[in-house]
Amino acid sequence: MGAVMNDAQNTAVKAQAEIAAVPQGRLRTPFWPRLNELDRLNAWHEWKGYTTPDALYDADLEYFSIRNSTGVFDLTPMTKYRIKGPDSLAYIDRLVTRDMQKVKPGRVAYAVWCDDRGQVIDDGTIFHLREGEYRLCSQERHLAWLTAAAIGLDVAIVEETGDIAALAVQGPTSFSVMKNLGLEGIEELKPFGLTHFDFAGSELMVSRTGFTGDLGYELWIEAGRALELWDALFEAGRLHGIRAIGTEALDLARIEAGFLTAGVDFLPAESTVRPGRSRSPFELGLEWLVDFKKPNFNGRRALAEEKRRGSRWQLVKLDIEGNKPAHHSYVYRMLRGRRRQVGFVTSACWSPVCKKNIAIATVEAPHGDPGNELLVEIYYQREMHWSRVMAKAAIAEKPFWDPPRRRATPPAPY
């Protein structure tokens, strides 16, 4: 009898152990122990399967670390693919709309890729790590599409999201932090450049890229060395105001810089169901990324047709009067004395550094042409009661935040 019980207990314990061995709930990035130590708010959300902080102690202060000193953001959950093989250039060049022949080893390119209908599947950055070897980094996962794109080409695609730990180190003092970290020659690294360093026997890749529109770098290292890198980085930045930041701070910064977020400012084509809910690069203001000189790339035929016929949507940056953020607002335009709804806001914030009420919006063409005056319908609540303003909005042709220090090479040692 006792033996039977023991067997049953053993089976139960074994089953428990097996269940425990399967990762459940949110994953933790290799930097999680450090983020957790710094965390005061316990405000976390899910990002591509990982737990990630909204903010660690105060979103506004974290934001100011990006603009005034250095903010460090854990971007490990960004989807990463390694692409290599004899046909890797032909592969990438056909995948994305821009000319990748021009992106030499040691360079990084922002790019979008489309389906055959010329609709944007996602945007992301492509790192030409070495001759014939690339890393593609994006918000969404794309293995099915990337694998289909490899049919008939000699190229290997490896998902490496969990293997590579990555930090964005962004802000005016980030260059000084990099110097202190002992990265020889970092002053020569130009925007959208990348270079490799030795970090205690491991390869550390540093790119001069970011999602903040400011001077900044991104650091990429094998997951096992993540904590050592974090510690060395924070030690190097101790006297330069280095701060860990969460998603809210980064989101403010990216709206100021005019950067798009997939799933927010546009929907990845493969996740849309209704016709007309996906967008072409033209409709996202990314015409500069489409190179028709290339004889073939995914979406080329459809985009050439769209260029001929005209696009349906425009993406605009809005400078809105007042100080109430235009979250989720409808956008209108006065036409022949009548107010006509022409679009909607997808991202909005009060920009602390520009002292402006800004937004990214989608409007029907041609209402988004420069010079048109638009109206934004903003609802806001005061002591439970809702109020509404029709705020005038001007179409901004340049990013709201684009300081010269972002591009200066060598960067200034703030």
């Binding site: 056909r94 289909a148 995914n298 080329r300």
Partner: protein, 514 residues
């Protein structure tokens, strides 16, 4: 210096020849390049033993479209027309079918057959009308596309309420349920089942086998005829016609690749290194071979490439050729009936059971066979007094789990011969020479991906507006200057010439001579 043509046709299959002839007739300077030393592709006559020749792949004509022969002004050499179909029985009580007539079944089955045949031929006639049309586009269609669609709807409606309902009920259905509902005679059920699945990777219980049955009836209502001199003679007649229209045909010239220049097809390069230029490249090869092989995915977009790569095109039929020193004696069959079409498909379940192993990459232990003895009607195929037997053997999956080794081929050959010998016991003793072409052999010999004679399975999702794949149904490929004209396009496989004719028409319509 490369020579420039108005159009280059890759592959001298019967559709390629029809297309070339029609382009030539319209005054175009056309070059046809064929890999083999003879024209015809899968419509070829093959010498498989000293003095014995046979149609190498397709061996009967069902679906030659009158529009094709009419426009080309040719007559195809036929040794016999209106062949009867005989469903063989082990006890010698065979069932004989010819059009609306059936012998060897009871009165109830006779009546059912007449009704079934009337309805099926009516539906097939409706379908046949659209085989000879360029399929309309559903999205972004021109006015002509919309009119064709409207006409299709109207034609359906014109069938009458009840018949239209029947058509819509049957079109996606399987043949098994229909024969079980109608007929008593196992032989009759087996024969109809075989006709529905011959040459496909489908069993009688697979959905959509009514469609494949109707497809077979398009043209001659299922009555087969036998080409004189083998199928190669049909191809030769087409080639003669093409040459008469000024078309240059060069055999023994395998195309290595289709040259793409700045995003458009600009010519072809042959294996011997010669290049030929043209802004119109028409491929008679199957979609996979054309697009993934000759063009290459790097010149195409990803979504399209994926669709082509996923095209279902796994052949499941082998071809058996026997050289005989005399006519075999089939139990219960008169000698003159050896000139007809003989089926080994004793009942519908037998056919389905034969299909079962094919799903898992194994060949049928008891195969289904369509047998002809063409030399009975056409003495040119064998030495005097001797004969050839040509049979389609199903099922023999292209992706045979164990691979198509010599041993596998021998095993299937043995099974096929044994299966026939159960009905014609003296057959094995009469065999002088034998060969079996597996789907892998057919792929290698005729350059058809997967060895599938339709190039792409004939199913509703690969039919009409969506053949070979959605977005490329009008013969024009999403690479400027590249067209398809083979069985992989609408309407599909079989010796019909409709693919080649439709392709030629749209090419002539959309491209005025330079």
């Amino acid at each position: 210096m490369t020579e420039r043509y108005d159009a280059i046709v890759v592959g001298a299959g019967h559709n390629g020849l029809v297309c070339a002839a029609l382009l030539g007739r319209a005054g175009r300077k056309v070059l046809v390049l064929e890999a083999a030393d003879e024209v015809g592709g899968a419509a070829r006559t093959r010498r498989f033993a000293e003095g014995f020749t046979v149609s190498a792949c397709a061996h009967l004509l069902y679906q030659v479209q009158p529009e094709v022969v009419g426009e080309l002004g040719i007559s195809l050499p036929r040794a016999a027309e209106g062949l009867s179909t005989i469903a063989l029985s082990r006890d010698g009580r065979h069932v004989r079918l010819n059009g609306a007539r059936v012998e060897g079944v009871d009165d109830a089955d006779q009546a059912q057959w007449r009704d079934f045949h009337r309805r099926m031929t009516r539906f097939a006639d409706l379908l046949a009308k659209y085989l000879n049309r360029i399929p309309p586009r559903l999205a972004n269609g021109t006015r002509r596309d919309v009119l064709t669609l409207a006409e299709l709807g109207l034609d359906l409606r014109r069938l009458g309420r009840e018949e239209m309902r029947e058509f819509l009920r049957l079109i996606g259905m399987n043949i098994y349920d229909e024969v079980e509902e109608r007929f008593q005679s196992p032989l009759l059920k087996g024969a109809v089942s075989l006709d529905a699945v011959l040459g496909t990777h489908l069993g009688p219980r697979s959905p959509n086998t009514i469609l494949t049955y109707l497809y077979r009836l398009c043209g001659d209502h299922g009555r087969a005829s036998l080409p004189a001199g083998g199928m190669g003679a049909v191809a030769e007649a087409l080639a003669q016609c093409a040459r008469g229209h000024g078309v240059t045909i060069r055999t023994g010239m395998p195309v290595r690749r289709i040259v793409v220049d700045n995003g458009r097809a600009a010519g072809v390069e042959t294996e011997n290194g010669e290049t030929f230029s043209s802004w119109t490249i028409v491929s008679n090869a199957d979609p996979k071979r054309t697009l993934l092989g000759l063009v290459g995915s790097r010149h195409l977009e990803t979504g399209f490439t994926r669709r082509i790569a996923n095209l279902r095109s796994r052949g499941n039929a082998a071809k058996l050729h026997l050289a005989l020193d005399g006519l075999p004696a089939f139990d219960g069959l008169e000698r003159k009936e050896l000139g007809d079409r003989l089926l080994i498909a004793p009942d519908a379940d037998y056919v389905e059971r034969a299909f079962n192993p094919a799903k898992y990459g194994e060949m049928s232990p008891e195969p289904v066979l369509e047998i002809t003895v063409p030399s009975f009607r056409d003495a040119s195929l064998a030495p005097t007094g001797k004969h050839v037997l040509s049979a389609i053997v199903q099922y023999a999956p292209y992706q045979l789990k164990a691979g198509w080794s010599d041993a596998a081929r021998e095993a299937l050959k043995k099974r096929a011969i044994e299966t026939i010998a159960a009905y014609a016991p003296d057959l094995p003793g009469r065999i002088v020479a034998a060969e079996l072409l597996s789907p892998a052999d057919i792929e290698a010999e005729f350059g058809i991906s997967g060895g599938h004679w339709h190039h792409a399975e004939l199913t509703l999702d690969q039919f009409l507006f969506v053949r070979p794949v959605p977005g490329a149904a009008q013969y024009r490929m999403p690479l400027d200057g590249l067209w398809l004209c083979g069985a992989g396009t609408h309407p599909g496989g079989g010796i019909s010439g409709a693919c080649g004719r439709n392709a030629a028409r749209i090419i002539l319509k959309q491209q005025k001579p330079a």
